[in-house]
């Protein structure tokens, strides 16, 4: 492995003493972090739940007991919050891809709107589910 591609520099890290935290950069890195969490934790959690359901009533009852524990509830709460964030910020990215709302003022405005909408969508879904 010593091709031209391998010698290219990698992207700078946003976290650390290199950049002052700003809404723009933080919302961007949170989009990646929520994406990684949804891939590594939330989707396997849903998969586990569906497989337990397929295995029968006893496996499903065990799964429900695990989910109603404090770590289980915590994983579901964070998963739902991150899903709402990644969903709404993803729509924001798709709007940018059409060339709209790219002015700095609008990037901040849609950023705050997205954060508020995430909290509302999360709270409503959690309430409707319980």
């Amino acid at each position: 492995m010593n091709t031209e591609t391998d010698r290219r520099p990698i992207s700078p890290y946003l976290i650390g003493p290199y950049y002052k935290p700003q809404l723009t950069s933080m919302l961007s890195i949170i989009n990646r972090l929520t994406g990684v969490f949804l891939t590594a934790v939330s989707t396997p959690l849903i998969l586990w739940w569906v497989v337990a359901l397929a295995l029968g009533p006893e496996a499903y009852a065990t799964m429900l007991a695990r989910l109603s524990s404090l770590p289980g509830k915590g994983a579901m709460l964070i998963s739902l919050l991150f899903l709402c964030y990644h969903f709404l910020n993803g729509i924001r990215h798709l709007v940018w891809d059409t060339g709209h709302f790219l002015e700095l003022e609008n990037v901040y405005r849609t950023g705050w709107i997205m954060v508020a909408a995430t909290l509302v969508l999360f709270a409503f879904t959690w309430w409707a589910a319980s």
């Binding site: 492995m1 994406g35 891939t39 729509i91 879904t125």
Partner: protein, 119 residues
Amino acid sequence: MNGQDTAGHGGLGHWLWQRVSSLVLIPLTVWLLWAITRLAGADYASATQFFSHPFNAGLAILMTAVVAFHAQTGIQVICEDYIAQPWQSLLIWLTRIACFGGLVLMAWAILGIAGSSPP
């Protein structure tokens, strides 16, 4: 160079398909949020009944397929940005295998539930 594949590895294709999968995931995520409100804490009978409807079983498998693709491309971009070789390629391939395996497992489970409980 004849104008093809100038980004090295079909970078435009990756970019485009990531957006296409995002677009498809918008209505599917609305369905997922609705499904969560119906299935949270549901007992065995009502949970299996939910997937005995072809509409729900079909969307569950379709969404898993699109999510598997979307997650794989997303993780690949992050690996390419932050992780040096040879770990980069290894992680990308492990992610591909995990996403494909997850999809197969999900389809098997959903079809099993849908097949064993009449609507």
